[in-house]
Subunit: 305 residues, 2 copies
């Protein structure tokens, strides 16, 4: 029994209205596995880095009981690098640099020791690579969650549509749900997307929270109103990692558990955006997490006759 | 004891992607009083119309126990008329026609029989007229709620800031909260606005729900995800009417009651947008309202350890 997470492990350089960073460690699998590790102790990653990736960061994964057997280190090559600058509203950003490097021909090799995977998070990568991971697992996981983005809808829609047929939960943002479905109404968009394969759809709405659709039901999770969103990078990956980490821990797949998973994902994402990169996410205590879960409870609870 | 609502009673002509109307009855006081009347039977309006306003619509107010003693009918003059066209996203619109007519020199006369007012909703009008109503009440109401819009922030900011000092609850949308405070973060915006006079701030976010700030607390209410938003006209007024109607009925002013008031306002607004103008709002049953309240409960309830 384990939770397998694939995605990028990479470098980011980020500029926000609050400051800028040098190259810092980022990537979908980084954020997602750190988030999941607070809830589940059998997290395993499949990813690729170059020999420029710091050994101490790999050691950090291990210290958090994140299995890095599937982390390929390509000698003589460089890690994926992304640089971006956020606008004042923190909702939009310009990409300054994208260097694919090792990601350009990433072949996701699944170690034999990973074949006990019951929970699979396909972090944002090309739909073909995501599909390859599914194909290479001997047994179909109990739960497959896929994160993607508008970029793949633009350039690899057919591959994405194909991969969607094999998954259980799709996590995308509201603009992406509208693009994928061609519907402006998120209810109509969800109706169409749930016919494409996934049994559940999570629509992430940033500062407006998230919606879960499935089993003919809808759940609306709030976002924690924050004084400052310091750096949104990785918030979506963190959300997905917290979501599937919670579900893996609970061992139960149901709409009610997914609601809680969304709250947990939102809690971890709310920490993620408070500092640059993984800084905040690396240094949480269970007490801090529990206290913030209670903030979400208070934020959204009402008693009406 | 009564609930006094001031605002426009007027004609609208609306065009949406779903169709268009001729002149139909609208106006802030119309939507708000209809919404409030489902919860409170001592609703009184102060407004002004021309002699072109249909007698049967005034009769309809009365049939809903809405007191129209304060509805001035100006002989030889015409009612306020607004015409607008919504864009495909239904979040933005173009104003096609604004004829102030009787609203141009509206003097809000308070009948003596209205002086028992304990709850006051100042619907969207010039801040000066809103202030005049406060000044003309012999006793300060238990609760004063003010609705306004960006237009008054643009052309009458000083008057608005003055009026804000006299009220308890301000209801505006997120863009307006940002404009009024000069802060992008809604938490920071709320902090500044709550120093301007109001003890509570409601930030309406349309399809993303609403936030309540006050007493150092925050409540986040979901919006009901709808297949179609048919016509958003009057949704904000309906929200405000439902909010204060619920509070007047409960007789209790507290953060917890206001949370429920926001759910009730959201419930009524979710009905309002399902048809043109007041059509849906005029024909609700208590059973329909209760069922939709339960939808909001199910939409936002989670149980987490």
């Amino acid at each position: 029994m384990s939770l397998l997470i694939i995605g990028s492990v990479a470098f980011d350089a980020i500029e926000t209205p609050f400051g800028k960073t040098d190259k810092i460690v980022g990537g979908a699998a980084t954020f997602a596995s750190l988030a999941a590790s607070y809830f589940y102790d059998r997290v395993k990653i499949v990813a690729v880095v170059g020999d420029d990736f710091p050994k101490e960061d790999i050691a950090y994964f291990k210290s958090q009981h994140i299995d890095t057997t599937g982390l390929q280190i390509k000698q003589g090559e460089r890690s994926f690098f992304w640089s971006g600058k956020y606008h004042n509203d923190m909702n939009s950003r310009d990409t300054l640099v994208t260097e694919l490097n090792v990601l350009a021909d990433f072949d996701p090799i699944i170690p034999d020791s990973y074949q006990d995977c019951e929970y699979l998070l396909l972090g944002n990568l090309t739909p073909k690579v995501q599909q390859t991971v599914i194909n290479r697992l001997y047994n179909r996981p109990k739960l497959i969650v896929l994160d993607t983005m508008n970029f793949w809808m633009d350039i690899a829609l057919d591959d994405l549509l194909q991969t969607l047929k094999s998954i259980d939960v799709l996590a995308i943002n509201d603009a992406e749900a509208r693009q994928l479905s061609g519907e402006y109404s998120l209810v109509k968009a969800a109706g169409k997307i749930l016919q494409m394969g996934p049994k559940y759809l999570i629509i992430k709405k940033g500062e407006h929270g998230a919606l879960l659709f499935g089993e003919g039901k809808i759940f609306s999770a709030p976002a924690l109103p924050l004084k400052d969103v310091f750096d949104p990078t990785g918030a979506g990956d963190t959300f997905a990692g917290g979501f599937i980490g919670y579900l893996a821990q609970s061992g139960e797949i149901s709409f009610d558990r997914m609601k809680n998973g969304i709250i947990i994902g939102s809690v971890l994402a709310s920490f993620c955006v408070e500092k640059f990169g993984t800084e905040k996410l690396k240094n949480l205590t269970q007490e801090e997490i529990k206290a913030r879960v209670q903030q979400f409870v208070q934020l959204s609870t009402f008693q009406i006759d």
